[in-house]
């Protein structure tokens, strides 16, 4: 191939060049050299978005994050916000105990679809109906990433997973649960939104959703929930660069992105946050 005109990128631009830093992840909040998640995984970006929104709202010294068990658990011991690690599926109950004892803290959960819609479906639905003043965040890739990419309760019809290499078949494997939609229908729930991290635009929208969810908690309006569709090229058995489009083509049509409910504003159905 021909020689390309490559711009040097091994150090910041010359201070004299009049350039300002406009984006960098917040390394103070995620202490990683290199994390262990797979190439092309959507979870690190989701994770980064959560902690950065906490920081943006000035909540770092009041936040307690409760983690589920999944690939994202790799982040539970390298954040600079307080973390309570839960067992698989149980984070919403732990978060409830925390919030009830520390009503001034901002309490959020970080869980996967396997964690939240399989093992712990009941926990999140009950916490939602109690109107628990917590923010639950679900990273939805439609697979158990951590154990090797098996089908979960959110896997969409036709999706490739380790046990549905030919795609999920409703006759054999049942139907996906659209958790955000389900939660939006429950009294006690103040805010529900579904974002994605497959494009930069979706990341930006998702960050706004997270921000709003935390504001809803701060305002004491009730239970708030953000689902984030994330890529799992490993569990989908596809190439990393195909994953964003796969998400758009397969997951998003079923798990439609947008703000599903916001009791704090007139908005609420189908807008995009």
């Amino acid at each position: 191939m021909t020689e390309r005109a490559v711009v040097p990128t091994d150090r910041p631009p010359d201070p004299d060049a009049g350039a300002r830093l406009v984006d960098d992840f917040t390394p103070d909040l995620i202490d990683v050299g290199t994390h262990q998640l797979c190439p092309g995984c959507g979870e690190p970006v989701a994770m980064r978005s959560v902690v950065e929104m906490v920081a943006e709202l000035g909540l770092v010294q009041r936040t307690i994050a409760v983690f589920g068990i999944g690939c994202y658990t790799a982040f539970s011991n390298n954040l600079d916000v307080e973390v309570l690690q839960a067992l698989h599926g149980r984070a919403p109950s732990l978060a409830t105990g925390v919030k009830r004892c520390r009503p001034d803290a901002v309490v959020l959960t970080v869980q996967g679809d396997g964690d939240m819609v399989n093992e712990g479906l009941q926990e999140v639905v009950h916490a939602a109906a109690r109107g628990e003043s917590i923010t639950c965040v679900m990273l939805n890739n439609g697979v158990f990433g951590e154990t090797g990419g098996h089908m979960t309760a959110t896997t969409v019809i036709g999706q490739r997973t380790k046990n549905t290499l030919e795609g999920r078949d409703p006759a054999a494997h049942g139907h996906p649960i659209r958790l955000s939609d389900l939660l939006a229908g429950i009294d006690g729930v103040a805010y529900v939104a579904r974002g994605a991290v497959n494009t930069a635009g979706n990341v930006a929208r998702t960050r706004r959703m997270l921000r709003r969810a935390l504001e809803v908690q701060e305002a004491g309006l009730g239970f708030s929930f953000v689902e984030i569709l994330t890529m799992c090229p490993t569990g989908w058995f596809i190439e990393t660069q195909e994953a964003p489009a796969y998400l758009a083509d397969h997951l998003a049509p079923v798990h439609a992105t947008g703000v599903l409910k916001d009791v704090g504003t007139a908005a609420g159905t189908g807008s995009d946050g």
Binding site: Q36, L37, C38, C71, E146, T147, G148, G149
Partner: protein
């Protein structure tokens, strides 16, 4: 009873486990008994991967992991130390010299230097470096014959990777060819056992 413990170590994953599979299937085809223990972290962890193979001329008595190794295939220096501790004087150590860095008491062992990653690149894909090493190890020890290894490739590959048979067969050959001749003797009488 003779038990030949061969430890394969590296980073990344598939290469090592596939080589171990091929080695075992080849040995089985030659009528040996085998035992294979593979350990690797969860799906997402890119860390070290290791396989312990025992090839024997009678049912294997050895536990899944071994306290001493008769042979080793070392793809990378990073996880070499634990394997090094298993080696006996005279153990056969195949080293991927393209990648391996660092010193050790080479004199105590039969060291087989193989530019495996380089040779693999030569046959078409650096991912086949483990297979190059296995070919070289076969040549150096005779623990199994090259043909047995090559015949074992198709059944060891999962169906959706069937297109890689030729590459791996070539890699085995390249490794085999990269070693001048036997440097150790795996089996006492060098006679064919069983079928």
């Amino acid at each position: 009873m003779t038990e030949r413990e061969v430890v394969l170590t590296g980073i990344g994953g598939q290469g090592i486990q596939l080589a171990a599979q091929v080695l075992c299937r080849a040995a089985l085809a030659e009528g040996r008994e085998i035992q294979l223990f593979g350990s690797y972290g969860g799906m997402m962890r890119g860390g070290n991967t290791e396989a312990t193979v025992v090839v024997a001329d009678a049912p294997v008595e050895s536990p899944p992991t071994v306290g001493r190794a008769w042979g080793a295939l070392v793809m990378h220096h990073e996880h070499f130390e634990p394997v090094h501790r298993l080696l006996r004087p005279g153990s056969v150590v195949a080293l991927n010299t393209t990648v391996f860095e660092g010193d050790f008491d080479r004199g105590a062992f039969v060291v087989v230097d193989v530019a495996a990653t380089e040779l693999a690149g030569g046959v078409g894909n650096v991912m086949a470096a483990s297979m190059v090493m296995l070919g070289a190890f076969s040549r150096a020890t005779g623990v199994v014959a090259l043909e047995s290894l090559q015949r074992a490739v198709p059944e060891a590959l999962p169906p959706y990777r069937a297109q890689h048979v030729a590459l791996n067969v070539a890699a085995l050959e390249a490794g085999y060819g990269g070693v001048d001749g036997p440097l150790a003797e795996a089996w006492p009488a060098r006679q064919e056992v069983g079928a």
